[in-house]
Amino acid sequence: MALSGMRGLSVFISDVRNCPNKEQERLRVDKELGNIRTRFKNEKGLTPYEKKKYVWKMLYIYMLGYDVDFGHMEAVSLISAPKYPEKQVGYIVTSSLLNENHDFLRLAINTVRNDIIGRNETFQCLALTLVGNIGGREFAESLAPDVQKLLISSSCRPLVRKKAALCLLRLYRKNPDVVNVDGWSDRMAQLLDERDLGVLTSSMSLLVALVANNHDAYWSCLPKCVKALERLARNQDIPQEYTYYGIPSPWLQVKTMRALQYFPTIEDPNTRRSLFEVLQRILMGTDVVKNVNKNNASHAVLFEALALVMHLDAEKEIMSQCVALLGKFIAVREPNIRYLGLENMTRMLMVTDVQDIIKRHQAQIITSLKDPDISIRRRALDLLYGMCDVSNTKDIVEELLQYLSTADFAMREELSLKAAILAEKFAPDLSWYVDVILQLIDKAGDFVSDDIWFRVVQFVTNNEDLQPYAAVKAREYLDKPAIHETMVKVSAYILGEYSHLLARRPGCSPKEIFSIIHEKLPTVSTSTIPILLSTYAKILMHTQPSDPELQNQIWAIFRKYESCIDAEIQQRAVEYFALSSKGAALMDIMAEMPKFPERQSALIKKAEDTETDTAEQSALKLRAQQQTSNALVVTDQRPANGTPPVSELGLVKVPSMSNVDHSSADHGVTQANGTLTVVDPQPPEPSADLLGDLLGPLAIEGPPGSAVQSERNLVPGTEGVPNADDALAIAPVGEQTNTVQPIGNIAERFQALCLKDSGVLYEDPYIQIGIKADWRAHQGRLVLFLGNKNTSPLVSVQALILPPSHLKMELSLVPDTIPPRAQVQCPLEVINLRPSRDVGVLDFSYKFGTHVNVKLRLPAVLNKFLQPISVSAEEFFPQWRSISGPPLKLQEVVRGVRPMSVAEMANLFNSFRLIVCPGLDPNANNLVASTTFYSESTRAMLCLIRIETDPADRTQLRMTVASGEPTLTFELKEFIKEQLVSIPTVSRGPAPPLPQTQPTSAPAALSDPGAMLAGLLH
């Protein structure tokens, strides 16, 4: 083994290798970092060779997992080295250490561009690779035309063109506009005629990205892909170097078939025929061979062919061939093939009318559920989940339950969720469903989320026939010696509601039920006690004629918890005690819970949510969306016209509101939780997460009539408040309402976005609006990401921009409909005309059952047009002095400031891009900051700020703002003031006169900067 050409590097690597432990390694690394840092400091003495060596050391250290936060400049500077070895190192290390957002990268743009357009093809390759790996938007805008030219140039050699193809792919992902669809699709088709397989391999990747976004534009590429595939499959004109164990580039074959999966169909019969010939050959002609690598490679091609056949909805005959093949694969011993067999069979489920053939393999699949390899078990679980329907649900769910007791922890949660969903979706009868869920809780209580037991309660509540059965079952489980807390919750709940149905059975008298539940109380946590208290109250109510002994027992418990520290428990105890003393009135109040509205199962929703969204949709996912989801058909039983039966209104929980007179009269109960419920005057849509009901403070409900009554009474008070900013203030947090409630605080989200450039602007159960902004001088480009969170489309989507007078805002077209689970991007161009603190508003509305409209402030605020600039004392003071007073320089004493230390204030300023210049003001209680403001009217304008704080009273300070433009000075001053005082003021009156109250700076010689600052206004 020869040592590397760089001795110092080899020595360092072997030193690190010889370190006996991690601590020693860290010491050695720290020492080396110190050494490199010193060497870089006096860079003049460094030869290119040394620089190269140190940069490699940095990369090595970085690879070991240590942060390297210096030397980036040196790595970048090597890019402009004249000689290849240094330049190469510069490029490679830069692309490993930096990312696209790194400032130093900008410095290199010119060099990189020169290398790309230069004549030296090795330099071209290096530069294209760097841009291909870490190029950002700026690169996309400045380099795309050059890269395109290289890619299609006939004089350029393949080694450059293949890199240009992938470089363009990167630039396209950064900014899709760089590829002009009209012009490029023909060029792309020509590229696919390429003979050189390196160029063809990278061009195929480029095509996949282009087609994934817009298959319509690239139809002409489809026959070319088929031709390329034929060429490979027939091994025509394939250089030896590109065959791998006798197989013509399996990677290119795979990529080509992948590209074909992005076209929805193939219409041209000839192309289709040729393609199927090739596919048929792959399907039939792939044999198992001894050589592992050859076998893998040929099966890589085979699996891709299978995927393509599935995609093309081929004739039944070829489909059954595929299923037969997969059936063979899932039975082999070789784990990789079995894994992929299971995975692809799961995909196959999307093809209509092969499900029955797949079901024949059920027993085999269940064997894989018990495989020692977790990867295989997961695939088997997914497949079983996917293939489950009414006919086999009993078998499959029972298998899952059985497996649950032995399954590893990593899988139990997923397993229980899936079992619960299947049981719900395909239950042959409801009592079986109840059995399954109770078993699930019994076997894996820790992994059964609340959603699961909420759901079973809903079913029981909504099906009278089921209630006695569920009560019997719940009672049986309570006899077990040790049961999971979730089981306590669910059985207590069910028995509270329905145990009176069992009253005649042995062991089921109210007293017995009470005592067996009460036995569990010492073992449960605070969250369960409220449920138990409700159960007791209900048992008491159902005990007719009343049993004084039981009553005393239960009352004693209520009284015990009257002073409980947990507010929820306390409130229930107090209220139940008061209510149960009322005698007959109890009957009305404690009546059974009415039926729940039909709604999409939260479980299924949850399962859908766990699927991650990626920007570039895979062919498979696109396909999955085209199919109507089973889940929706089965569970989403919303009335089509959006008018639910009136009785549903009774379900709006009115927290003790209807009972106010009872309870408060007797005991003066405080209505801590009795918050207002906003009621949409329109018949509301049942929201999917109403499930929270069961745990809410409102387990007791007034009879429907009175609930509706009080609800209506509330309406006038709360109507007409849907002001975007205040929406949350009136929406009781954590409370159920039937309007669409935003998730998170809109005002806080806006505040956060004023400081950062990307994040969520608004979210509710149906939509998420994200924002990403890019600010350059007086211009901004915002992208609104409108994401539909549902499995059905959002319609009547409208977005209007209401710009303030100083901003020019142009929103690109917003589609009327957002498809299910899709995200659309709408760029919004902003131009800042002049300084102002006004903000633009996005008036956004959509329809999902009800009409939802929100008005959202857009974070195109004054500070976004600031560019940090740090100014030295030599620059600052002449500027400061040259601006001599109002209206260009304004001073104001601000009171009611949020108390904060000077350091905190400096941070606050910096976060608004008002860069604090430390040390400029010698008085530690003062700070001085500078920034540049950009607008069309002012161009780039320097702004200077000085704050003098009073250490004795942190709530007041004196602020002086100076700039070359009166409005800017005023607006900036007001802006800063808004940030400093706790309640943003909107007063636009003139600045108050200037009281000279603060004794911060004493007069001193003019050479003292503090004195100069202070004295300037005099």
Partner: protein, 143 residues
Amino acid sequence: MGIRFILMVNKQGQTRLAQYYEYLTIEERRALEGEIVRKCLARNEQQCSFVEHRNYKIVYRRYASLFFLVGVDNDENELAILEFIHLLVETMDRHFGNVCELDIMFHLEKAHFMLEEMVMNGCIVETSKSNILAPIQLMDKAS
């Protein structure tokens, strides 16, 4: 978008080469590498070469003391990646002659050069060994 990262880790769990095609902070890398190494190194020969982890699928292969781990997204042909690992090893073998962990360790730069010729932006760019090695040979000749 294909390959997210390529790791070479020895059986003690020490990283010998790490190349990422998406940006992760050093903390994220450390955490990710730790989790993956724990998961993959504990597996035996009878288990398959694919491990699902977070949003990634890890395709891995072991050569003597060295593990090659490739993180891909869920939309990649697993066997093609598995053989791509072998192609990488064969390419290094052709250059170093019977490549071992130490070759990769002490010639980190060469390993990087090769990888750079083979993968770009997470996509396979070249699969011909002679084309991959051409620039390195050119450089060796020059020096």
